[in-house]
């Protein structure tokens, strides 16, 4: 009797707490992640093509997972601890296998800040990517808290303890070809599941979403690496941002956009345009489907245009220092 009374009281308190807290929790803080099967045993969790915002909680990224008979391989962990936890729960709904490998493609915050949700010994990254994450991670975290707010609560930087080398990673009966590129951030992992033909191109490919350039070693390098991706034997292409497809149109759009951007910045510098003028320059109509193009042009101008400007200016000698001029 006493026990049941206690239960009743506890239930009433719980209900009261639920009533008090339900609206804010339900309204704001669930990613509602869904996995789409893109091949047998391969799932993609697709984010929006928006910018980081308190409305999307940073879910602007594609993550994925591959089931093998010896465990699940996860590709990227999303923008926050909360996302990572939701991803892990989602994986458990689709596979009974434990997660054995989490491959982090590059050090950008939307790809690695869900790391906390996975056992640390399962986290893998290319050596250069680890260095970049250790270097830039704290600043990225600060910026993410500013951009998406409370979704980031409890998120902390976890640098993967394990390093990856390019080559074939065999997990159970699956062969995953790991390739190291650099065009987007200086260290970009691309994963080809040879068994299914699914290519996780990560942020070397943005599709219907403007590419981002804060750490790129240069657009020419990126374009060159894109050509290498075209030669890979894939059937399905998963971009880091934007819809999954057979890849033809995605790679063509990406190559076109990179080439336009490089050309436009070169020409602008040769005409002596100021940075604000470049930020406002016309973007060709054929890129109308590319989300965030103006926003990213403003950012790219900040990151890359100074280099184009420098190349278009001559070193001016000091007339005082020229022999015979005095």
């Amino acid at each position: 009797m006493a026990a049941s009374t206690r239960l009743q009281v506890r239930a009433m308190v719980m209900c009261l707490l639920c009533l008090l807290s339900a609206p804010s929790l339900v309204a704001a803080r669930s990613y509602g992640l869904e996995a789409t099967a893109v091949a047998d045993g391969v799932w993609v969790v697709e984010g929006t093509t928006e910018n980081f915002s308190p409305a999307n909680g940073g879910n602007i990224v594609n993550t994925g997972f591959i089931e093998t008979d010896a465990g699940v391989v996860v590709i990227d962990t999303g923008p926050s601890r909360r996302y990572g936890e939701a991803l892990r729960a989602l994986i458990a709904r689709h596979s009974d296998q434990p997660v054995t490998h989490v491959l982090l493609t590059h050090h950008h915050p939307d790809h690695v800040f869900g790391n906390q949700a996975f056992p640390e010994h399962t986290l893998y990254m290319l050596p250069r990517g680890r260095e970049l994450l250790a270097r830039d991670g704290p600043a990225f975290a600060e910026n993410m808290y500013r951009l998406v707010g409370d979704w980031m609560r409890g998120t902390e930087l976890v640098v993967p303890p394990n390093t990856l080398s390019p080559g074939v990673l065999t997990v159970g009966t699956r062969r995953l070809r790991l390739m190291a590129f650099a065009g987007h951030t200086g260290s970009d992992l691309v994963v080809l599941d040879e068994t299914s033909g699914v290519l996780f191109a990560s942020d070397l490919v943005f599709y219907n979403r403007a590419l981002t350039t804060p750490q790129t070693p240069g657009l020419a390098r990126w374009a060159e690496e894109l050509q290498q991706l075209r030669t890979l034997p894939f059937r399905v292409l998963v971009p880091g941002h934007g819809p999954v497809s057979d890849g033809g149109a995605a790679l063509a759009q990406m190559a076109d956009y990179l080439s336009w951007l490089d050309h436009a910045l070169t020409q602008a510098a040769r005409r002596g345009l100021s940075r604000s003028e470049v930020m406002q320059m016309a973007i060709p109509e054929r890129f109308a489907a590319v989300a965030g193009r103006r926003y990213e042009l403003v950012r790219t101008t900040t990151h890359l245009y100074p280099g184009y400007e420098k190349a278009a200016l001559e070193l001016l000698a000091n007339p005082e220092a020229t022999p015979g001029s005095q």
Binding site: R270, E277, T302, A312, E314
Partner: protein
Amino acid sequence: MGRWIAVTLMLLTGLARAAALPDDPLRSPMWEYNLVRYLGDEAQVVIDDRVALKVPGFAEDSAQVPLTVDLSAFPGPIRQLVSWVDFNPVPLLFKLTPEAAQPRLIALNFRVQQATAVRVAAQADDGRWHIGSADVDAAGGGCTAPSMTAANPDWQTAFGTIRGGAFSPVPGHTRFKFHTLHPMDSGMVGNVPAFRIDDVRLHDLASDRLLLRMRLAESAAENPMFVFELAGERRAVRLWMRDNNGNLFERELALGEGG
């Protein structure tokens, strides 16, 4: 009694002053304060889109935010151009005085300490100030970020390196662009005193006439990139700059070079 009269007079003056100024389109609390501070008590002020201020809506890099003032739609000559950043610790960015040449377009980079309104005021020949404004969102900290130049161990050898180019983007007008490696320390970073270029002058090379003069303030960014587009054809100019430590920088640039 006398004190009350003084207070009443101050209040009345304050009210009169407030009535004469237009409302701030950006509703910044620093609007009146900075107008009086940089343009004076008696300034006649109008808001004018023809003083086209181009800045990005957000600062990707708070230490290097690009600003362009485009006066190509502004009728008639100007006496002065003044620019400031409302919420910066030292809001002033520059004061520019045309001498033998009228500017059509001016560009340089500034620092932002926090999200803020940015202003440029062009004084027309009748003495009235025409104001262009824009908002910049920012993570901030641009004024108190350590200089990138000083972080580079080779900065002393690169110090004072100047690149330039002369362009003619609009027929009949000439644009000069200069990039200078200089830390432009604002004096707001721990134990690093102000060390910055504060005086910039452009002369006609052939006649040596002063074309225009710009006084730079703390809000100017490091490694300054200046664009000066001047009305009319100018074949060649001499850039003259001085920093607050007395270093002089002089370079010559002619159309047909560097562009």
